[in-house]
Amino acid sequence: MAQSRELRVSRTTAVPADARVRHFDELDDDSQQYLAAVESGETPAAMPTGLASGDVVVYTDYFRIH
């Protein structure tokens, strides 16, 4: 899946109890656009600062930033 210089996004089924889980609607526009692009199979250039390692985002699936 999408990979930037330091972080990447992958689908996940396991959500750690201490994960920061956010719904897609909580993301800023840039982060929404980034995740939508990843979900549609694109590889956007840079991950927005609104997404951080350890985040799990609920979108069409559960996406983990790591």
Binding site: V21, H23, D29, Q33, A36, E39, Y59, T60, D61
Partner: protein
């Protein structure tokens, strides 16, 4: 002199206001009152908990220590019984009087009850609070058949919960398609197909005439206005919200299907502000009063209200909201006010991709995107900029929408 701020409601609007007040008024006295028994949780994730996909822990946003660390006085399980706007005093159910310099009302709403026989039976659920989600999850885990009522954005959450919990369900809708005020049948059919794939059968031109219950008081099924019977071990009802405005009785605060506020979130009564679902706010993008129940809008309204409580009329609310549905393997997003307008454009691109834009006076005022969200930023920007573009629907509806292909903006 130290300012005193009282916030009624600890949803995202009230909590956002408390956080902003503490950041921008470090010495202020801040009290947050809520009738719920738990501090702020993520209301837009409780559906994931009810689906059985998320544990409880990540849904909590603030524990009580969050308020302690910020010197915010949080009062859980506390009901406001009176507001004296002349004396600037809030009275609680324990007859405690709390004085305020500025008051924020962010009490949200309560699900509207279905006005039919047995709507208060065991197993008939409304879906709003974390406690509601816990009860729905418990029932759904043991149910074989379910009934869903309310063909809108909250009702589809109940459909998804049934699908995720392997409950065969009938989704009883009054009209001829889901969310008929924003979608045409072409767009709605994509959603109907997704429901069917999950074992949820949409039933059109239906609804509930009455619920049938057993001797134990537990729901057994529903009869629709056509006389058809649908079996259900539980039912989920999501037909709207009644705003929690009882506490404003006698205050003189203007209401019109919600608490009327200006663009600074100030009500018609001095030093009383409101934020979140219950407001009828002046939308500076639309140029008229509007309502919105999205998480992002409520959070922003709370923050804006706080800034104006500190420094009156210092920052107007200007926001294009969005609301997405994340239950299916294709994305769905609505933005702005998709149910209003005097003109629209729509196009279907595939079995899972469809778009509709609503216009008013030639400007985009809202839209719905199914299957491909890539144009959303461009559309929202055009809405924020109040560009007249309704005469360029062909460009707007291109599959790969490019705002640069629009004719240059004219002087308005």
């Amino acid at each position: 002199m130290t300012q005193s701020y009282v916030i009624i409601g600890d949803g995202i609007a009230g909590s956002s206001a408390a956080e902003t007040l503490r950041e921008e008024a470090p010495d202020a006295d801040i009290t947050v009152i809520t009738d719920e028994g738990e501090a702020l949780y993520n209301r837009i994730l409780i559906k994931e908990f009810a689906k059985g996909k998320l544990p409880e822990a990540p849904i909590s946003i603030h524990d009580e220590s969050w308020y302690d660390e910020r010197d915010v006085d949080l009062r859980l399980n506390t009901h406001v019984t009176n507001i004296d706007t002349d004396g600037h005093v809030v009275r609680t159910h324990e007859d405690e009087d709390l004085e305020y310099d500025k008051l924020l009302v962010a009490t949200g709403g309560t699900p509207t009850q279905l006005p039919v026989e047995n709507s208060d039976a065991e197993g008939v659920h409304h879906f709003w609070t974390f406690q509601d989600a816990r009860k729905i999850k418990a029932d759904a885990e043991t149910a074989d058949a379910g009934i869903i009522v309310g063909a809108g954005l909250l009702g589809i959450d109940l459909a998804a919960i049934c699908g995720a919990q392997d409950v065969e369900a009938h989704y009883l809708m009054r009209g001829d398609c889901w969310w008929r005020y924003a979608l045409s049948e072409a767009g709605a059919e994509i959603m109907h197909d997704a429901m069917r794939e999950r074992g949820v059968t949409p039933v059109f031109d239906s609804g509930v005439d009455r619920f049938e219950v057993g001797d134990d008081g537990q729901i057994r099924g529903a009869v629709d206005p056509n006389g058809d019977y649908y079996e259900g071990d539980f039912a989920g009802v999501a037909i709207g919200l009644d705003f929690n405005t009882e506490l404003l009785q006698g205050t003189g605060v203007e209401q019109d299907g919600g608490v009327v506020v200006d663009e600074y979130m100030q009500t018609s009564v001095d030093d009383v502000y409101a934020a979140g679902d219950l407001t009828r706010f002046y939308d500076t993008v639309l140029g008229e009063h509007a309502q919105n129940g999205s998480w992002g809008s409520a959070k922003e309204q709370g923050a804006i209200a706080a800034r104006n409580m500190i420094d009156a009329e210092s920052e107007p609310f200007r926001w294009v909201s969005s609301y997405s549905i994340t239950h299916f393997d294709f994305p769905f997003l609505s933005f702005g006010h998709p149910t209003i307008g005097d003109d629209h454009a729509e196009r279907k691109y595939s079995d899972t991709e469809w778009r509709r834009l609503a216009f008013k006076d030639g400007k985009i005022v809202g839209g719905v995107l199914i299957g491909d969200l890539s144009p959303q930023s461009g559309y929202k920007r055009l809405m924020r900029d109040e560009r007249v573009v309704a005469d360029q629907k062909d460009v707007l509806m291109q599959k790969q929408f490019d705002a640069d292909e629009l004719a240059p903006a004219q002087e308005q």
